[in-house]
Symmetry: C2
Subunit: 332 residues, 2 copies
Amino acid sequence: MLKNKPKKAKYLVGVDLGGTTIITVVTDIHGKVIASVKCLSEVKEGVKAVINRIVDTIYATVAKAKLQIDEVLTIGIGAPGPLSTKTGIIIDAPNLDGWVNVPLRDLVKKAFNQKIPVFLENDANAAAYGEFWIGTGKNVSTLIILTLGTGIGGGIIIDKKLYRGPDDTAGELGHISVFPNGPVCNCGNNGCLEAIASATGMVNRAVDALRLGRRSLIRDLAEHDLNRVTAKMIYQAVLKGDKLAKDIMQETGRYIGIAAASLVNIFNPEMIVFSGGMINAGDYLLDPIRDEVKKRAFPQPAKRVKILPAKLGENAGAIGAAGIAYCELKQD
Amino acid sequence: MLKNKPKKAKYLVGVDLGGTTIITVVTDIHGKVIASVKCLSEVKEGVKAVINRIVDTIYATVAKAKLQIDEVLTIGIGAPGPLSTKTGIIIDAPNLDGWVNVPLRDLVKKAFNQKIPVFLENDANAAAYGEFWIGTGKNVSTLIILTLGTGIGGGIIIDKKLYRGPDDTAGELGHISVFPNGPVCNCGNNGCLEAIASATGMVNRAVDALRLGRRSLIRDLAEHDLNRVTAKMIYQAVLKGDKLAKDIMQETGRYIGIAAASLVNIFNPEMIVFSGGMINAGDYLLDPIRDEVKKRAFPQPAKRVKILPAKLGENAGAIGAAGIAYCELKQD
C-alpha cells in the first residue's frame, strides 16, 4: 500500500471515537501532533451521521494542519468494542448507542474513495499504544497500561507490539477478580477491579461511608446530596486534608495495587502506566499502588517495574490510533 | 553454531533437574522421545557431584538411545529458579538445597568440552514449552499452562514463543492474588492462588475441616493422623463418593477458576492447560474450573478458551527443555 501512495504522503490521522466526543489529530510519522480537533459525537443521530462527522472532522483537522488530504498516509480510528481489528467491524458497542455490526473501517475508507488505508482499533488499546509510542512508555519494550476512569481499561505491550489476543479481547485488565465475593461488576462478574476501584467504584465506597454517618468535606462539596458525589470531589477533599477522602483514595490505590502486583508477577513488565481522569490525584493514588506492589509482588520484578502516570492526556487515544495505523501500514 | 556441528548431529537432550530427581531424555528434532533415564538428584552432595551426575546421565541416555554423543545437537536443562536464561546462571534456588550463583550452563558445557550448545531454562517454563511443543497445546499459538502440585507454577506462550519477561520472572501464575486477605503464601504475599489451591493449600483446607469435626473417609485414609493427609487421599476419597472430599476438590477448582477467569480476560488465550500431580483428579477438578471461567470471564474469550489436562506427565520438563534449546539454537 505504501507504494501506491504519492511520495508527499507522510502524515498520519488519528481519530478517537467516544460515546460523547470525537477527537481527531494529525501527526507526523513520529507522533508529533500538528493539529487537533474535538467535537461532539452525537451518536444518537445514527451511524451515517457519525461517519459523516468523522470524515468532516478529518478534513477540518488536515486543513487546520495546513495540509492536503493526499498528504495523509493512513487513518487510525480508536473506538469502543467489542470490535474486530481484522475485519474493521464494530461488533456490538454499548457505548455507541448500541451500534451492532457496523463496518466502520470500510465506511470511512469509502468516504475517502478507497485512497487512504484505514485501521480500526479498540479505544483502550489505542490509548495504551499512544502512551507507549510517544508518552510515558516511550523506549520501553514491555509495559502495561491501566486507564482509570468511569470504568477501568487496559492495554498490553510486549516486545514493542500491542498484544490483542486471537479475538482482539485481550487486555481487559479492569476485569481481573480482586475480591471474588465483592460487588457485582458491569460485566456480570463479582469483585472485578473495575467494580471496586474505578471512579464509580470509589464514589460508591465514599457514599457508603457517608451514609454510615462519617464526617467529610465531600458531603459539603456535594451540597449534601449523596447522589452528586464525584471522583473529583473526593480528590478535592483529599487536597484539603479531609480524613475520609484520604482513606478512600488510599484504599482505592491499595485495591489497584493488588491487581498491579498480580500483573507484575504475571508479566514482569518494565513499567505500569496509569492514565485516565483519576490520575489527577497523582501520588495520593500512585503511592499506595506502589506500596502494595512492593508488599505483594516478587522482589525482582517489583524492583524492576516503574509505576508512573500517563503523559498524553485526552489525546492519547487519537495519537495511539494514528501510531497503530502507521505500524500496521509498515507491516503490510 | 549449527554450522559447527557435524551433519549427523540431529538429536536433542533435555534434562529436568529437580530437588529430588533428574529426568533426562533424548528426542529427535520433532520431540519424539527415543530414550529416557530417571535418577535421584542428591543435591546435598553439592554442585560438583550434581553436575557430574547430570553429565553421566546424559551419556547414559544417549547410549540407551543407541546414539553417539556427537549426534547430539544441543542440550536443554530445566531447573528451579530464580535463574537467568541469558547468563545460564542459577541465581538462588531454595529447591536445590540453596544453590547460589551457580553457572550451571557453562559447567555442563565445559563437561562436554564446549562442543555442544547448552541452554538453561526455568523448570516451569520448560514444562509449559513441552506441552506446547508436542503435548496438549500442540498447534496452538497462544496458551497458558498452570502446573498444580506442591506449589503452582505457570508458563505463557504467545505467538508460539515462550514469554519470559525482561528478568526471566514472568509467568508466576501461582502468585496471582485470589483472596487478598487470605492465608500467607510462601512468597510472603497473602491469598496467592498457590497458598489456597495448590496440593498443600487443598490439604490445609481439608485438615481445617476435619479438625472442625467433619466426617470423611480422608480421616480413615490418613489413619486418623491429620498430619498424614495428602492430596492423593483427597482424590481417592472423591472417587469413593466422600462428601467432604468432593466439596474440597470442587472448592479448589473454583479457586483455580477465579484466577483462570482473570487470565482469560487478560490474555484471551486459545487454551489453558493444567499439569502436575493434582490433575489426576481429572474433571472432578477441571469442571469447576470451567464453570467458574464461564461464570466470570467475558463471553467471547470464555467461549474461545479450551481448558484441558496436560499430556506429557513427568517428562514434560525434560522434553520442553530439549525443545527450547532447539528453538534457541535455530535463532542463533
